[in-house]
Symmetry: C2
Subunit: 473 residues, 2 copies
């Protein structure tokens, strides 16, 4: 055990013993350094570790405080070790293998990030599509304006108000899904060889985009409830020539965390101080179980440094491929990259989504989905508690429909993926969510369609497989 780990352990034992209680301020770094006889930097590292583990939190200009430890059915995942060096890697082969397996086959997909599509509140969207087509208007067949349909851009600015954002339609560019928004943004603000900071675990589509653009990834410690460590972020800004951050701060995929407003505001402060742009992926933001939905980081940004990316893939339907980006001060290069990547986006789905929102269909649909997904989460948690072996840990998302599961260390999740697929069940192995081979005993599950009997059987089978792999050899 390293010196700072010793210190961290001592302090967390003191917390466990009740010497410091929830909300208490810990001794200052200088004080503890004198008291324990370790250097200032050792104590700093120890405090950072405690913060990363969610045991403490930093309040600017006040110090380190003991956080509230919540009691849950299952524990939260723990955070792996991080090396602080940007890495240039390629994990496409692995991702492709998982994406491709089971295509066309009759598989129960528990790992894909597809929303529940069989609810009645989506019907009016299909009606909009059909009506717009039947009207035989030429507009749906023609190239769209390069920024996207005005109707839709206006509706998006209306929705953005709910996340605390004042956007004008001019500030929004329609894309082919959130992925195109992310990739175009990345390309607009980086050059090959640059370093990009991500939360960790991180959506594999973003990681793939970073890798494929020839960029280096710097994965930062990320707490399963509070999100990316701002202490680590600031340190990285000091140490590395960071060109961009790409983070999903609200109902994170896959980890489920949501940064608090206070931390979002602090994040913006750091971005401004170090002049680093943030690509904020808000794709699950509207799927909050509580109203009002959480604010975006963008809503705290007064200097145009946050590029807000989203789409209707999770809140409505991914097959539409309707996404958008509000690129702030990087508008002209993001527009350029979007244009060369696919020119304008498909017109008809844009018009249909705009129509659907304008008629109130989107709000009705979200209201419905909030209840469905919250219930789905509780079912899946319940099943995992019942069917998975001891030592399993899970995330506790308050929005979206994805669960991050940490399995007992002995269980290799790539192997689990292969064996589950042989039994007709698809899952997403944790390794897809890291560029550096982390999360080898983690999986992502989708509870959008929970509860149903087939899913329960699938989860049970998975749990048995995991137990078997855990106890074997």
């Amino acid at each position: 055990m390293k010196k700072y780990e010793q210190v961290a352990q001592t302090v967390s034992e003191q917390i466990a013993q009740g010497i410091y209680k929830t909300g208490d301020r810990l001794p200052s770094i200088r004080h503890l350094s004198e008291q324990m006889g370790f250097s200032i930097s050792t104590i700093q590292e120890a405090y950072m570790l405690l913060e990363q583990r969610g045991i403490t939190e930093v309040r600017p200009k006040s110090g380190h405080f003991v956080t509230q430890q919540q009691k849950r059915l299952l524990d939260l995942p723990v955070m792996p070790e991080y090396s602080a060096k940007p890495k240039e890697t390629s994990t496409w082969a692995k991702v492709f293998h998982v994406l491709y397996q089971g295509e066309n086959a009759d598989v129960l997909f528990l790992g894909r990030a597809v929303p529940n599509l069989s609810v009645g509140t989506l019907k009016p969207l299909q009606r909009s599509l059909a009506t717009l087509t039947r009207k035989g208007e030429l507009r749906g067949l023609s190239y769209d304006y390069i920024f996207g349909c005005d109707e839709l851009r206006r509706q998006i600015t209306r929705l953005a108000v709910d996340s605390g954002c004042n956007l004008s339609a001019d500030e929004v560019i329609i894309t082919s899904g959130c992925q195109e928004a992310l990739a175009s943004s990345l390309r607009a603000i980086t050059s090959p060889g640059d370093t990009v900071i991500v939360d960790s675990p991180s959506f594999y589509g973003s990681l793939q985009a970073i890798e494929a653009c020839g960029l280096k990834t710097l994965e930062l410690p990320t707490h399963p409830e509070r999100g990316i460590s701002l202490t680590a972020l600031e340190l990285a800004f000091e140490q590395w020539p960071v060109k961009a951050c790409l983070i999903t701060p609200t109902f994170n995929n896959p980890l489920g965390y949501t940064m608090s407003d206070e931390r979002k505001a602090r994040l913006v402060g750091l971005l401004n101080r170090y002049d680093v742009p943030l690509i904020e992926d808000d794709i699950y933001g509207d799927l909050s179980y509580e109203m009002p939905r959480p604010r975006t980081v963008k809503s705290f940004d007064t200097e145009g440094r946050v590029i807000l990316c989203s789409s209707f893939s999770k809140s409505l339907a991914p097959g539409l491929r309707v996404g958008w980006v509000a690129p702030g001060r990087y508008a002209s290069s993001v527009m350029h990259m979007k244009y060369i990547s696919s020119m304008s986006s498909a017109t008809l789905p844009q018009l249909a989504v705009a129509d659907f929102i304008a008629r109130g269909g989107y709000d009705r649909h979200l209201k419905k989905m909030r209840g469905i997904y919250k219930r789905g989460r509780d079912y899946l948690l319940e099943w995992i508690t019942r069917y998975f072996p001891e030592g399993t840990r899970v995330s506790h998302p308050e929005g979206g429909y994805l669960l991050w599961v940490e399995l007992p260390k002995k269980v290799d999740s790539m192997q689990l993926t292969t064996r589950a697929m042989e039994r007709g069940v698809g899952i997403a192995p944790g390794e897809l969510f890291s560029s550096t081979g982390k999360f080898t005993h983690h999986i992502r599950l989708n509870y959008a369609d929970c509860p149903n009997a087939k899913m329960e059987r699938g989860v049970k089978m998975l749990g048995e497989l995991v137990a078997e792999m855990d106890s074997s050899g």
Copy 2:
């Protein structure tokens, strides 16, 4: 006048005087060098110039022959001077300005590459869209397979037979339009700083993609009927570390040329010899006025070095954003680049296009469009002859719906574009089609909707503007 230009002039005068007739073999290079007292390389350059001007053609292992000079209403455009050095430039500002102007306004667009969308043979496609939507199937709402819908990929391989290609559905990846196919292909086979050869003039979307990927463009002399100079191509392969070619060899946008089968086959020979991949843009290939449609370069490729890109944007409707790529030996990296750029493409339009083709709607539609576009071309040519001043030259496409117009040298086409827009008419200025500022007195016009009275008025107004600018100051 340079020495080689003198030689070329002498020879072309001899041809004009009938000393050499159509089909005659010119003296060998060595022979002429001795006869005229110029170096071998001067004669070589002279012969290259004659070939570029379309006065002669090369038959492999036989020599240089006088080509048939066709009589036309209006002359073909002449070819500008080329510098043989790859250039790294950015012309986005110019392109954006032209693309953006007139958005939302009530403008007669004579310059955009949009097909005729108001024909009855498209109606069944809209019916397919509406039916698929009404059936309320979830598939149209869900993420598609990463390679695209199987139904559509199968139909595409069926169509490819008409262009001489034997593809299997596995070899086809669906993209969001041809632009995404082009950009993903470029990214798959190049790295920033590499050199890419293009025909010239060249579609601005390709040029923008090349520029935005940080690549250097090498524009090669391109004949308005026979296409890119193979002599220049070989020379470039010898001289520069060329990483890829990007060419539209059939019904070229904007120049209208179609390479002959014999030249397409020779092109493949060169690609193989120098191990350079070709990105073949075949987006107008199906819009041939004669049946069978011309073969693709890909159909001569037995080594997988040709990446064939296309879409239904020109043959059906661009708003669908349904394109595809057959990437040959570069399949896995093209798939990777497509995936990170936008994941899968919109599902519903793919299913609708597949359904439309399967029911014979595509063939019926093409048959109809062939007649419409051919007639449109003849009308536009007629109007230009009537309304444009002397010295105007035009292309003679045998497919597609785009005309390339060379105006008298004094007419600045950027200025013309601005002045025409003030009068409610949009055109595409020639400069968009070069990365090096060529084609300053050229414009591209679209005859997809010819003849109609509004268009004729627009063309007349344009002709008058041109005449005025030609005779002023």
